[in-house]
Symmetry: C2
DNA sequence: ACGATCTGTACCAGATGCGAC
DNA sequence: AGTCGCATCTGGTACAGATCG
């Protein structure tokens, strides 16, 4: 009807509300911020006026005076992979529930200048904290060197000064993976790890190594991939070649010169003992690995048992369905937000305990052939 | 040295700069905003003071007075899937290059209240435009019903009033997929589509249907999945059962009562003509499909040729490696940002032409068995 | 005199129109 | 005409002070 209700020229301000309710503007402020000492009757009047004018406080004005933006910066360097994406999504939801906005800056991996510009963009925006997802050590180093002036929360296992971390227990997950293989009867268990400077990858390597050591099994240096299926494929090709050479060697009965003992020797394992199990740093590399050995005429799990990590939605339908470790990405995203809240002093919750991935046994693992 | 350089109490303001440079604060403003009518000498002095004080203009103050936040809202409803994630990432980078911040709100699908709250959060933040990714018609309806007051840009093919859209040419992509199958010699080509209210899915269905019609091939109503591998698996199970029943029928020579003509009849195809090709709405469903038919003792592409859509990084390493349509998600993300810029009047570029997906032929398709 | 309730004014950190040199 | 400064405005919050029962 009137030009008050359908005012599209400008959004209603706190003064408009005050005028309509017949109070002063900071009484409105008190109502909006739920401060005490406002009579119920006036509160009602103000609230009614707010409804009528569809008043929304301006975050800019608020941020200007409070010096708090109620937004947190999110830097992701993990590409479009399922893990980082899920975490971002979940974190984002948790942030919204806590009435925080989140401003993102995705950067390309291995690019320090990209990290620098992302950081600067976020601090310019006055974010109250910055969270780093899919962090590599180099990225964390870079971020810490910049002196942003706001708390940094990173997805990392390693504690550092001036950095808050929250993590999944990749170490225990890796041990679970290897133990599963060992319980199945495997003795030669290789590892295809993620990139060298990935903290998660390093933790997985450590778990694999420790579990092997706990069972006095031989540790062959892990192959290093880059999380992509293609890197798994390349490793699979090498592995298949090894296995084939090994098999032909045992058929001809002539062991290679490098190995005095025959490849079938059980204990005092020779360098050529045939791998029967592989723990892959993630599901994607496991996929490439299966592809490679299949192309080479081998089959999983008959010739090689494979366990992945992550349990991406596709893993259940790989051929064969992949045994893997399920990570609770959603819970992790929430954990991230709750530590941010703690760091900001909004809550006094202690750091959440790292979540332990859950072993999901499917069809890519079996007892080794006798 | 002095407490000027290492001032951690408060960031420098425009007044601090003005004092140090010996000018008034809005001369500083002029310099910062690169306005004319400033003598080079004073400009130098001011710039030097800016450097020295590490002055950064406050976005809050600036937003307050200009009513422009230089922030774009991004709503994603596509989960952690590769497509939506890639688009978000790429869009984000493009936005940063254009010196815009992006504030995200990921929502759960099929939840109108979630969409509403996301929208409100973003408008509260004074975003200048809102981008919708992985939009379903219901979500777009919901978004449009809310009257946000800022331009809406959605990833959709359908043009609507008050909505700017940018899209990939799913229609042409689907025709390419089907044509590939036809050229291979397939005549019975089924489609497993995405969810009914997905705009992309509908476009893919349309392309499939039209290409079939153009070759006067029979159109069997598409099965409807939900993009997940599991839905592909379920469809695959049904399909495999059909094929098995069909095969046994042709062996016993007794066609089911519903079909007077034999299943081997070429033209006037009976309802039971065996499907030899499937066009899957995305790669994940194709994966589940392959899994299902493999469990049923069939193999791709021997018994069934399958083509996917998206070309996710895993597709190359599926067993068999998947023939699919590659979408340029990265380019699409940039296109999104450039239409946002156009809508905002920052540039006068016209709407980018929809990108046509590229057929990538791998090993999941072959000639049908005679 | 006093606590609850409400108001006036001074900021926050910039942008902008107008006037002065 | 080209440079520059003054005053005013943006939309809130915070604190001191005023009014009232």
């Amino acid at each position: 009807m009137s030009d008050d209700t359908e005012d599209k020229a400008r959004a209603a301000t706190i003064f408009d509300v005050a005028r309509l309710a017949g109070v002063s503007h900071q009484t409105v402020s008190r109502v909006v911020n739920e401060l005490p000492n406002v009579r119920p009757a006036t509160r009602q009047r103000v609230e009614h006026a707010i409804q009528q004018l569809r008043y929304r406080p301006s975050p800019a004005a608020r941020a200007l005076v409070t010096r708090r933006s109620r937004t947190i910066g999110l830097i992701t360097s993990g590409g479009a992979d399922f893990g980082p994406s899920s975490i971002s999504l979940s974190f984002n939801r948790a942030a919204r529930e806590a009435r925080y906005a989140v401003s993102i800056a995705s950067i390309v991996e291995h690019d320090p200048t990209s990290m620098r510009s992302a950081l600067e963009l976020l601090v310019r925006q006055n974010v109250e904290a910055i969270v780093l997802i899919a962090a590599r050590t180099s990225m964390i180093d870079e971020a810490q060197s910049i002196e942003v002036g706001v708390p940094l929360v990173a997805t990392a296992s390693a504690d550092r000064s001036g950095l808050h971390t929250v993590s999944i227990d990749h170490y225990s997950g890796a041990r679970l993976a290897v133990r599963h293989l060992i319980e199945l009867g495997h003795r030669e268990i290789r590892h295809l790890s993620g990139p060298a400077d990935s903290i998660d990858a390093a933790e997985r390597v450590r778990g694999w190594r420790d579990e092997l050591a706990a069972h006095r099994l031989r540790v062959v240096e892990p192959a290093v991939g880059d999380w992509t299926p293609s890197s798994g494929y390349r490793f699979g090709l090498e592995l298949a070649a090894d296995i084939a050479r090994d098999a032909s060697a045992s058929v001809t009965g002539s062991a290679p010169a490098t190995s005095p003992t025959g490849p079938t020797a059980r204990s005092g394992a020779s360098a050529l003992d045939r791998a029967t199990g592989v723990f892959s740093g993630n599901d994607q590399m496991a996929l490439g690995l299966v592809h490679a050995i299949t192309s080479a005429g081998l089959t999983a799990p008959r010739d090689l048992s494979i366990v992945g990590f992550d349990d991406i939605p596709e893993a259940e339908h790989f051929l064969p369905p992949l045994t893997t470790l399920r990570q609770d990405f959603t819970g992790f995203g929430r954990d991230l937000m709750s530590t941010v809240l703690a760091v900001l002093g909004d809550t006094d919750a202690s750091d959440p305990a790292p979540r332990v991935p859950e072993l999901v046994v499917r069809a890519s693992t079996a007892r080794p052939r006798a």
